[in-house]
C-alpha cells in the first residue's frame, strides 16, 4: 500500500542533512559552551553560528536577539508571560485573537486568573483578523498584542505588517506566533515591526524539542525558567547543542529552499483543493483561498465526522489530521473553525492536509483517488446524509 503522510503540522521528519550535523555534536563534540577548555570553546562557537542562522531566517538585526527554547509552546510562554510580568507596572491589558494556538489561549487564561485583561479579536469567515478592529481595542493599559503569523490548521496568514505598524505607533509590544509559518513563508521581524516572534524547529524539518524566541533589543522580558543564566538569563539550562546546531542547519536550509519549496507545495495544495472540490459533492475549503500557507489544505465534508475520516484514510495509507493535534484529544471541535462562524457539525467534518517537501504529485493523485471512496462510505453510514446524495 502506498503511504502518503500529509500531517506535517503535527510532526515532521528531520531533514537527513540536519540529522547528520546533529550526529557530530551528539557523539563526538559534546562540550558545554560554559566550559573553559577546548570542548567548551567549540560548543560556544557553534552555538553562536546557529544563532546567526536562525536570526537570518527571521530577519533579526542581531543574532543575540534570538533565544533558544525547547519548542514553540515554551517560546510562547516566555513571550506572553515574560512581557506581562515584566511590564505589569505599565498596564495589564493584552490583545490577541480568537484563533490563536491553544498554548496562547491557555497562557492568557492563566494570566487572567492573575488579574490581566485579555481581549480576543474575532476573525471573518476566512479566518482573517481585521487590523482596524484590533486597533479599536487598544487602551492605555495595553502592554502586549499577540497575533499568529499563520494558523497551522486553516492555513490563513494574517496581515502582520499592518498590525505591526499599529502596535509600533502605539508603542505596544508586538508578539507573533510564527510556529506554523517560519521556514514556509518569508518573515522579516525587523521590517514587520515585530518585537517578539516564536518559532519551532521541527516545523521546519529540524529536531523536535527545540524552538526559539526572537526578542527585539530593548524589549523587557522576565524569564519563565530560572537557573544558571544561559541565553542571557532569559532561558536557563544547559544548552542543547545538538538540538541548537540542528535547528540552525534547518533554518539555513529553509532559507535557501523556501522559494522553490513554496512553489512546489503551492502547486500540490491547489491541485488537491481543486481536485476535491471538483470530485466530491458538498465539500468546501476552510480558510482563505490565497492568503494561506503553501502546504495547507483544510477541507470540509458535510454529513460526516473528521476522526472517522482520519481512520478511514489511515486504513488506505493516508495520514491527515482533523485539526490541531494538541486539541484532538479533547474531542471538542476546533475553536478556530468555530471562530470563523462554522456550525459545530461543520467543524466536526473538517480535515487538515499539511504537505511536506517529500510529498509528490503522485501523492496528491493517490489522495484524490482514495478520498472520494472513504467519504462515500462514511456518508452511507451517516444518518445525516440526504437520501438523494446516496444514489
Amino acid at each position: 500500500m502506498r503511504r502518503v503522510y500529509m500531517d506535517h503540522a503535527a510532526g515532521m521528519p528531520i531533514d537527513p542533512r540536519v540529522f547528520e550535523v546533529m550526529k557530530l555534536y551528539s557523539l563526538k563534540s559534546y562540550g558545554n559552551p560554559s566550559s573553559s577548555h577546548s570542548f567548551g570553546v567549540s560548543a560556544k562557537s557553534v552555538l553562536s553560528e546557529s544563532r546567526e542562522r536562525v536570526a537570518s531566517l527571521i530577519g533579526a538585526e542581531k543574532p543575540t536577539e534570538v533565544i533558544f527554547t525547547s519548542g514553540g509552546t515554551e517560546s510562547n510562554n516566555l513571550a506572553i508571560k515574560g512581557v506581562a510580568y515584566r511590564n505589569k507596572d505599565k498596564g495589564n491589558h493584552i490583545i490577541t485573537t480568537a484563533i490563536e494556538h491553544i498554548s496562547i489561549i491557555n497562557i492568557c487564561k492563566h494570566l487572567q486568573k492573575q488579574g490581566f485583561q485579555v481581549s480576543r479579536i474575532p476573525v471573518d469567515n476566512q479566518g482573517l483578523v481585521d487590523p482596524k478592529k484590533l486597533k479599536d481595542e487598544i487602551t492605555d493599559k495595553t502592554i502586549l498584542i499577540s497575533v499568529m503569523y499563520a494558523n497551522g490548521e486553516i492555513g490563513t496568514t494574517q496581515p502582520i505588517r499592518e498590525i505591526g505598524k499599529i502596535a509600533h505607533e502605539s508603542q505596544i509590544n508586538f508578539h507573533v506566533d510564527a510556529v506554523a509559518a517560519a521556514g514556509k513563508v518569508p518573515i522579516n521581524a525587523e521590517e514587520e515591526n515585530i518585537d517578539l516572534l516564536s518559532i519551532s524547529s521541527n516545523d521546519m524539518y529540524g529536531p523536535k524539542g527545540m524552538g526559539a524566541l526572537y526578542i527585539k533589543k530593548g524589549t523587557r522580558v522576565q524569564p519563565v525558567v530560572q537557573g544558571g543564566g544561559q541565553e542571557r538569563g532569559l532561558r536557563s539550562g544547559t544548552e542543547n547543542i545538538p538540538g541548537i546546531v540542528g535547528m540552525g542547519k534547518a533554518a539555513e536550509i529553509a532559507q535557501e529552499e523556501m522559494e522553490a519549496e513554496g512553489k512546489h507545495l503551492t502547486k500540490l495544495r491547489d491541485t488537491l483543493i481543486q481536485g476535491v472540490l471538483d470530485t466530491i459533492g458538498s465539500s468546501h475549503l476552510n480558510g482563505h483561498p490565497t492568503n494561506r500557507l503553501p502546504n495547507n489544505a483544510n477541507l470540509r465534508f458535510s454529513y460526516i465526522e473528521g476522526e472517522s475520516l482520519i481512520l478511514g484514510l489511515d486504513m488506505v495509507g493516508v495520514q491527515v489530521s482533523s485539526g490541531s493535534a494538541c486539541t484532538s484529544k479533547t474531542l471538542e471541535p476546533s475553536h478556530v473553525l468555530l471562530a470563523m462562524g462554522l456550525a459545530h457539525e461543520e467543524a466536526h467534518g473538517s480535515l487538515v492536509f499539511t504537505m511536506g517537501k517529500q510529498n509528490s504529485e503522485e501523492d496528491v493523485e493517490y489522495v484524490l483517488e482514495v478520498l472520494p471512496g472513504v467519504v462515500k462510505r462514511l456518508r452511507e453510514i451517516s444518518p445525516l446524509t440526504p437520501k438523494e446524495m446516496l444514489r
Binding site: 481512520l311 457539525e345 452511507e380 453510514i381
Partner: protein, 124 residues
Amino acid sequence: MYTERVMDHFMNPRNMGEIPDADGVGTVGNPVCGDLMTVYIKVKDNRLKDVKFKTFGCGAAIATSSMITELAKGKTLEEGLKITRVDVADNLGGLPPVKMHCSNLAADALHSAIEDFKKKELKK
C-alpha cells in the same frame, strides 16, 4: 489507539442501514457534539429479530453501533435492555478512556429503540 476489533467493526460495520418498517427507532447524541446514532429494531415474539444502525461520528461511535447490533440481535427485549456500555466496550476489546464517555452511546440508542417499541405497543 483502537483495538483491532474496533478497527474491524469500523471498517466492516455489521448491520449498517435503516429498517424502513422498523418496530422501534432510537436516536441518541447530537451532531453538534460530533456523535449521532440511530438504532432500528424489528421485534418478533419479544425478540430482537433484526437490529440496524446509522451513525454520524468518530471511529468508536461507528464501531460501538456495529457491535450493539451484533450483541442485541436474537436477544429478548429484557436481555437487550440489560446490555450496557461496558458490555459493548468489552466486546470490542476496550475503548480509549476519552471515548468511553463521549462516543459509547450505542447501548443507549438500543435501549431507546426498545422503549420506543414498547411505547408504540402500549398505544396499539
